[in-house]
Symmetry: D2
Subunit: 424 residues, 4 copies
Amino acid sequence: MSFLRMQETAHDQLIEHLLDVRTFSETITNSLEREDFVIQSMPDVSPAKWHLAHTTWFFETFVLEPSVPDYQLFHPQFRFLFNSYYNAVGDRHPRAHRGMLSRPTIDEVRKYRAYVDHALAKLNVEQLSDEVRSVIEIGIHHEQQHQELMLTDIKHVLNINPLRPAYRSDLTTPEPSEPQALSWSHFDSGIHQVGHAGDNFHFDNEAPRHEVLLRDFQLANRLTSNQEYLEFIEDRGYQRPELWLSEGWDAVQQLGWTCPLYWERVNDEWQTFTLAGMRDLHLQEPVTHVSFFEADAFARWKGCRLPTEFEWEHVAQIYQPGPQSNFVEEDLLHPRSAPTPDDQKSPAQLYGDAWEWTASPYIAYPGYHPPDGAIGEYNGKFMSSQWVLRGGSCVTSKSHIRPTYRNFFHPEKRWQFTGIRLAE
Amino acid sequence: MSFLRMQETAHDQLIEHLLDVRTFSETITNSLEREDFVIQSMPDVSPAKWHLAHTTWFFETFVLEPSVPDYQLFHPQFRFLFNSYYNAVGDRHPRAHRGMLSRPTIDEVRKYRAYVDHALAKLNVEQLSDEVRSVIEIGIHHEQQHQELMLTDIKHVLNINPLRPAYRSDLTTPEPSEPQALSWSHFDSGIHQVGHAGDNFHFDNEAPRHEVLLRDFQLANRLTSNQEYLEFIEDRGYQRPELWLSEGWDAVQQLGWTCPLYWERVNDEWQTFTLAGMRDLHLQEPVTHVSFFEADAFARWKGCRLPTEFEWEHVAQIYQPGPQSNFVEEDLLHPRSAPTPDDQKSPAQLYGDAWEWTASPYIAYPGYHPPDGAIGEYNGKFMSSQWVLRGGSCVTSKSHIRPTYRNFFHPEKRWQFTGIRLAE
Amino acid sequence: MSFLRMQETAHDQLIEHLLDVRTFSETITNSLEREDFVIQSMPDVSPAKWHLAHTTWFFETFVLEPSVPDYQLFHPQFRFLFNSYYNAVGDRHPRAHRGMLSRPTIDEVRKYRAYVDHALAKLNVEQLSDEVRSVIEIGIHHEQQHQELMLTDIKHVLNINPLRPAYRSDLTTPEPSEPQALSWSHFDSGIHQVGHAGDNFHFDNEAPRHEVLLRDFQLANRLTSNQEYLEFIEDRGYQRPELWLSEGWDAVQQLGWTCPLYWERVNDEWQTFTLAGMRDLHLQEPVTHVSFFEADAFARWKGCRLPTEFEWEHVAQIYQPGPQSNFVEEDLLHPRSAPTPDDQKSPAQLYGDAWEWTASPYIAYPGYHPPDGAIGEYNGKFMSSQWVLRGGSCVTSKSHIRPTYRNFFHPEKRWQFTGIRLAE
Amino acid sequence: MSFLRMQETAHDQLIEHLLDVRTFSETITNSLEREDFVIQSMPDVSPAKWHLAHTTWFFETFVLEPSVPDYQLFHPQFRFLFNSYYNAVGDRHPRAHRGMLSRPTIDEVRKYRAYVDHALAKLNVEQLSDEVRSVIEIGIHHEQQHQELMLTDIKHVLNINPLRPAYRSDLTTPEPSEPQALSWSHFDSGIHQVGHAGDNFHFDNEAPRHEVLLRDFQLANRLTSNQEYLEFIEDRGYQRPELWLSEGWDAVQQLGWTCPLYWERVNDEWQTFTLAGMRDLHLQEPVTHVSFFEADAFARWKGCRLPTEFEWEHVAQIYQPGPQSNFVEEDLLHPRSAPTPDDQKSPAQLYGDAWEWTASPYIAYPGYHPPDGAIGEYNGKFMSSQWVLRGGSCVTSKSHIRPTYRNFFHPEKRWQFTGIRLAE
């Protein structure tokens, strides 16, 4: 598993960091009713209970079983129930049936977590192999990915309920401020390095670092706003096939799209469902919960295009995440309008707020090889039919993201916090 | 609603009886984990939470709203969420999405029940119209039907879980005794009265009482046993299309049937899932969880047939339910082997144990008219493509059943306690 | 095969009659283009080519192979390709793929027919067993059934084509005459004989003859007219769930029914597609191409009901088919308005014009047994979920029909010439 | 439509060339039975009749209607029936129903072709606008694409028929010769030009010409052979999930793939269906009718990868198609084993034989813009979820292909002549 390098994290802090991350998973679910843990509102969604168990299964299977002599599994059938997609680990419970399981209960899952955390806490990091330490790092980032999924999944679960309950009633909604006018940052052509370099943690799909040839391009100074997207809607954007990719137009027709996910027309006003419940749509905020197809059609309507993932990464290597980025730590759990930038040249909102759809299909970098074994199924096998997103969102952990980070989803997916940044 | 006559129940006992029945619904769910209340394991199944709420909605909608001045609904959207199929009451939540609702929680549903029960307890029966009293009677029987469904639905929910949890660990399984040998009771041809007569409660579909012409027939002295059904399996019953109706053979092929629902071959032994969990199959017990198609194919293989509903009813009018009948009050929640009959001429197990598929499609009696209004949607509109079952099962309330009672299901359904009695 | 009795047909006329019927199959397809023979416009429909081959396969498989020593099959794979549903004969080509076969071409199918007809013509009837003679009789009636299907199937095939080509341009459309006013014939209660008696040919499902108990009833003097059905539509019949069986209402919603099949609203006028092409709807003609669900809803709207199959048969035994009945021999291929009856007491249109949906599910008569062998799969195995129709239609052969004849279809089917006669 | 440049074709030869190409479409269908023209064996396939009509509709709609004053449409509804996917031209007949149309007959379609060809022959090229001349060029290439589709579609249509008829019985099968041993050609890294340059005809998706950065790579000297692919099968390639992309593994499971399309195991020997009918599989021939997923899994199993489209194009710009390339003009209609190369450095079979799956998703070149109007729907709107193939096949016209030509299909498609060339 040579592609994985250790973070600078001193060895003795690894387990502490791990347990902090593990705790945050439980924090996220504190406001849920027990019944909320069970629902799978569509095949993409997993019940919160499942996320809590699956991330635990990950450490049990890939860390404790190989490292702890005489380790006793918490429950022999959990190997089957909570495997997500690792063929190398054996058969698994069908994904679409995750919402059919009332047992184990959330109480039992919490016992499972405590049991595994207890064993993890007892690990002596110095005695672990580099490989196992690497897997712990992966497991931390894996758990952070599922934390983001828990938040987007529960949003879907609560929205499908006609009662539209809020996930948390104590969330604050910042007073929306008028975003800066749309402007463009120019970047020159040239051969640039992209992909991960250095010893920090990264996923296999961010490597190898390699050269790419970029042409002159311009990048928008901020995310597209709800106001701008509404103009697209009002200009009959969803009724004009010439603006859409063919598969996108099919999605519009078959799924009946007329606006972003979670927008609703109530008494002639646009409202939107947030993790704080239903509220008026703030036109100043970035548009989110749009598919790649909608992002692409919007860009075409604007006479622009989406940036490639390497254009984005080239810019992101210049402007690292700042302290004001809207990640999950801000505890807004919703994108906010673009702040006035400190530095006029820096595009706002590159990190956090909303994942940015790029014009790049998700494929391997030149010379890419997945690691051996089950961990090799983590990223590489999904390299068809998906598109790269960059930058993280308002429900991503700050320590999870970096300029080289590649997220990927199918082009019709809308339940993540996904938005639009234009390029030319 | 002239078709509904009052039970002998004195007026002042009606509400008491109602509240007793309501309480039993909650008793049934005492052993459930909170997560168990949420699951819809297939479209036929409803979550236990939904059953508890829907039966409450029934009284709120059809009794309290029309009868109690200034009655305040517990929650305005419950009218939409917990309507099952009454078009006359308005739109309703899609049946197949009942398992998508985490809210209201079971705690809220219990508050809803308490709220409605409180209002029901305050009713002055003497001041109610005959019609409202009739609807209360219907509501009692309606609740009993949903009690049976809760037990069969939760059995399905727990069985679909790879952990196969038991519904109750305290259930007793009677030592199986060798059933009596199969023998036949003979009945003479003639014109007989069938259908409900008298003032007792009955459903609209049991009326009008009318004459039918029966031919000589013989009825088996007991239900078909697992042993007998196993012989059918071992004689390749599920591989021989000539034994099956065409739609039944399609079901065998498409659904992959090779044995009754809940039978499993484990280490070369037949086991079965019961409400007490997995256990060995007792060959002496009646076969249950078979579809009409399987009952029909088995009868054909035996060189016999299923009785018509009127043959069954003619016999049942002679032999009323006895004290030993295995209804839900016995708290076995599983059919038991046929007891030695007190009276050699009486067929055993006519009532309780397992619903008996008949050879009669479910259609209207001559002169049948459903009552006016939403209650008219209770039975009449289902009179196509279903078959009549008679006699109740081990999860039916004793006070719910009578010789004229007509249950009905589609011919491929297997999740109820449905069994076979042969005729010739 | 004791249930099959020989027609009076002298033995030496049997083959002559057979070949006449066979010739009529080809007459029916004379007006088709070669491409028309290939299309399967929905799973219920079979290509005309398939009908011509399947009826030939029937004689080859059930008559020639068992009776002619050293009979050489025309083509070994036709056994597989042209078996409809006889499990006992072996595997078969999937029904839904019948429209995927360009080969054999219609020329080859015609050669197949000639080859088999030649062998049939050489049969010495005197030397055949009773059983084989019976199968020839069945084969004649089987071919007549497929002649009717060819006409209804090709109507569907041509209608699905946006060009709406006519099947035949030379068909005459009688000038519609005002039908008699709706009136009722009264029939007294009593025990009556139904089912086939005597030595004439009949299908197994018409036997055994047996007694039924009928109550007083009245039967409408003619079929329901388009005018009457239009009043149902205009009274919002397709928008009122209380008029429909539950499965019927589902069909209305899911299939988008707003009028009978083949009706179309063109420039604010009702038109209808006939085998002569599109033309104005004649309000005086009987309504046809309605499902059981529509017939049932219409009757409920009228405050009437459909007759049972035994009420119909009781009447039909009194009034046999007359010379003026509109069968396929009339060569109208469309129902015509009810003629003034010669005898005021005789209901018009009992035979021909349109099959009459009855209120009777299609089940076995008491004591029914299908014949042994593959022929036993002809009727008996379809005895679930279908409804009985009586009387034949404008595309039925006159020699095919009789008072005891039972046709059957699923309640949502509309592509046959199916109509409505009311009862009270 | 500035992206389209005229071929050197002198103006007065344009129409002559057009009519030659049009004639070849009819030549291709000469061996078909009339019934063969009707079948749509799966949604991807169109009936041959439809191809002949649609290519005619193309010229009528995009050339004759705009250019010929008072042009009379052959049939007003053909605009609807034979539009493939041009939203800008209006509604269209649903793609999946193309096999439901018996009319127009093939005779009528041939009259349609003659009518349009007659009008095309009368065009005065000098008086046409550049734009119309461009569309004629596109129409020629469009017709050639449909010629290839007719051959692959009819192969599918005939193969789905259990009789497995040959498309042509006069096709010659070259004696298979042992292919050269697998070897590698090396190419150096650098910045290279790709995409179309010059005045010759090309499609919009081949432009603009632009620079790409290539790394050192090696390309296999020939296509992968059946022999090599069989080793993959025998090494359990179809049973090992670790070799497959996740969506590819899903396809294996759901579609039951165990070998390339058209391979069949008959009496323990591998046979294959060709346009000449069923015959033994020749191990020396290139493997064909594999999906991208199979090509990708095979390459992974070999420890290699597929080339990118720009690696391929870089090589192809060096080695142009030679006289021995196996295009449709060779009239083999099947790939043949790799010939000994004249020049040891030239990879064999770069052109013709089988389309080569590349590792490149089908997306736009930098600066790409589709042309205005309906013609703009030709290529650009399909730029999601598909992969680029290069080089043409044994059923491609020689004049249709060039080094910059980009074909594209979804990764699970197998009915085209698609093969594998390895890279490292």
